[in-house]
Amino acid sequence: MNIHEYQAKELLRQSGIPVQPGAVATTPAEAEAIAQQYGGAVVVKAQVHAGGRGKAGGVKLARTPAEARAAAERILGMSIKGLVVQRVLVAQAADIASEAYVGIIIDRASKRPVVMVSPAGGMDIEEVAASTPERIRRLAVDTRYGLQSFEAMELAFFLYPDVRQARAAARILRQLYNAFMEHGASLAEINPLVTTPAGDLVAVDAKISVDDNELERHPDLAALRDESAEAPSETEARRANLTFIKLEGNVGCVVNGAGLAMATMDLVKHYGGEPANFLDIGGSSNPDKVVSALRIITRDRAVRVILFNIFGGITRTDDVATGIVAAIRQSPLTVPIVIRLTGTNEEEAVRILAGAGLSAMTDMDEAVRAAVSLVGAGKAA
């Protein structure tokens, strides 16, 4: 789960990290009032879960409260990568002597959180990695010991030759690590970490992603979710415990298991089709999940055919069949549907489908070919 910049900054502030002062506004008047309160120049920043806000015009410097109001007026309601801006962060503009990057992510290879730092702050770290990889330093943290002082100092000296700044950066790195662990994060970064002309360090932009699997443990973080910043299909999928990713094609796929779902998409492509989505209904699915899955898929106007591919293990295929029938009864389909199911309670599933006038295949290849060939036919199977 992504949280907004202003929320991430609040978490970092609670961990003791010096953060650029700022407050959230949902109206131009609020933005003006905040700017008034700070006095000097402010930066008005769109709060959306999308990169490239700056390029999209979602970040503006304002020298006066009136300018802040005007900036907020332009940014609020703006659409960035399909997401409508509902909030802006009005932050005190920082004087910048230099900018660094510090971030933590999980690394599959070392099986540890990895701290990355770079003196090339303010840039996309991907870009730095591609163009000047020697300007990034990494450290895999042994979680049994945590990020040690000496490790933080080693990284900090890579950023700052000055020992006072290095100590401040080391402290921030350890606070960031603690925040990362404490909040069950999968990503935490400060970019840029600004050095002011006076030599102080301050976090000017921040990003935290929380591992969805941790949310049950952290109701306070779960409460930070901003559903207004998500596509409605994502919200519905999450609530129904489905993994759903919207794609650009027209073959709507409903599959149990991520590997099989990907293999199904690959096979759709193989036969010349284009998957409209990745949708994994997971194991031990109940009929309600299937109903939700069908609702999400059929909401996508691009979908021209629906393809079920179910290999029943823990998933009972009769549950899936019951869900399909229930969903169609609630709202009849306007596109054809191809159903492949095999495995647990297969005979019962076939019986249920037949009762609703539906048939099922048992071979995956065959089903995918049939679905692809139906694209453009536009009639129910």
Binding site: I105, I106, D107, R108, A109, K111, R112, P113, V114, M116, I125, E126, A129, I136, R138, D142, T143, R144, M181, G184, A185, S186, L187, E189, S209, D211, N213, E214, E216, R217, I245, L247, V255, N256, G257, A258, G259, L260, M262, A263, M265, D266, L267, V268, K269, H270, P275, F278, G282, G283, S284, F311, G312, G313, I314, T342, G343, T344, M364, D365
Partner: protein
């Protein structure tokens, strides 16, 4: 013969009285697996009716292991309790721990992984279907009826995709020594190389099918291992060739590993290592047949 589990397997089930644990305990017992103990805190002293057998329940893994000599544990507990369960099993001296639970926080695994290693145990999973030695023993949730005994080893990061491939093998009479689902989580206990090495060492296994997917560099590492260390034929399949980049791992993971973990990269690495990679699941069987025939001819 087989890898990891066999006729001497004495299975303990953590979370035996839960919804999934109770269902699959019966399935495993029915398949012929020796289920010797269950753990559910607070139900110690009771027994669990697994159909064929009544399984004694204990409050802790330590008690269960001591009383029954269990040597494999399979875990069906809720995600936020899974890390503790895995460590409890390792601490109790169980040498093989199989965690079926899906949704284990990845930071939990950063602690579990070194703990398991410190204790000299093997972990399979989490978020995996477990493993099966057809006709002998099954630990986890792989449907028994899609498998049949034979000489092909199978290792996969996926669940249902594994069933798909195993099913095809079985349908054409290519039986399996052991099928292992290692799970698709970012941090898991056993990787491809561990399983490939075990299959290479298992006299009963004559060929191996490995089923990978996008993300990470495990398949690339495995490809190198196959090229350098394996004498037995290996056939591959990679799911996610058409997956949009960056949706599973985020960019930063790629920076670290120096790899984007794409299917193309993995297929290339495997091809370079001399591993034929199937385009479709349905191509696995013909490719395997071809390699097995070639082996026989050699």
């Amino acid at each position: 013969m087989s890898i990891f589990i066999d006729g001497r397997t004495r299975l303990l089930v953590q979370g035996i009285t839960g919804r999934d644990g109770s269902f699959h305990t019966r399935q495993m017992a029915e398949y012929g697996t020796r289920v010797v103990a269950g753990v559910t805190p607070g139900k110690g002293g009771q027994t669990f009716d697994a159909g064929a057998v009544r399984v004694p329940i204990f409050n802790t893994v330590a008690d269960a292991a001591e009383a029954t000599g269990a040597n494999v544990s399979v875990i069906y507990v809720p995600p936020l309790f899974a890390a503790d369960a895995m460590m409890e099993a390792a601490e109790a001296g169980i040498p093989l721990v199989v965690c079926i639970t899906e949704g284990v926080p990845v930071l939990d695994m950063t602690r579990v992984y070194p703990f398991i290693r410190d204790h000299g145990a093997r972990l399979i999973g989490p978020n995996c279907p477990g493993l099966i030695t057809p006709g002998v023993c099954k630990v986890g949730i792989i449907p028994g009826r899609i498998c049949t005994p034979g000489s092909v080893g199978l290792v996969s990061r996926s669940g249902t995709l594994t069933y798909e491939v195993v099913n095809q093998l079985t349908r054409v009479g290519l039986g399996q020594t052991t099928c292992v689902g290692i799970g698709g989580d970012p941090i898991n206990g056993t990787n491809f190389i561990d399983c490939l090495a075990a299959f290479e060492a298992d006299p009963a296994t004559t060929a191996v099918v490995m089923i990978g997917e996008i993300g990470g560099t495990d398949e690339q590492d495995a490809a190198r291992f196959v090229a350098e260390r394996m004498t037995k034929p290996v056939i591959g399949f990679i799911a996610g060739r058409t997956a949009p980049p960056g949706r599973r791992m985020g960019h930063a993971g790629a920076i670290i590993s120096g790899s984007t973990g794409t299917a193309a990269e993995k297929v290339q690495a495997m091809t370079d290592a001399g591993i034929p990679v199937a385009d479709r699941p349905a191509d696995v069987v013909p490719l395997l047949r071809e390699r097995l025939d070639a082996s026989v001819r050699r």
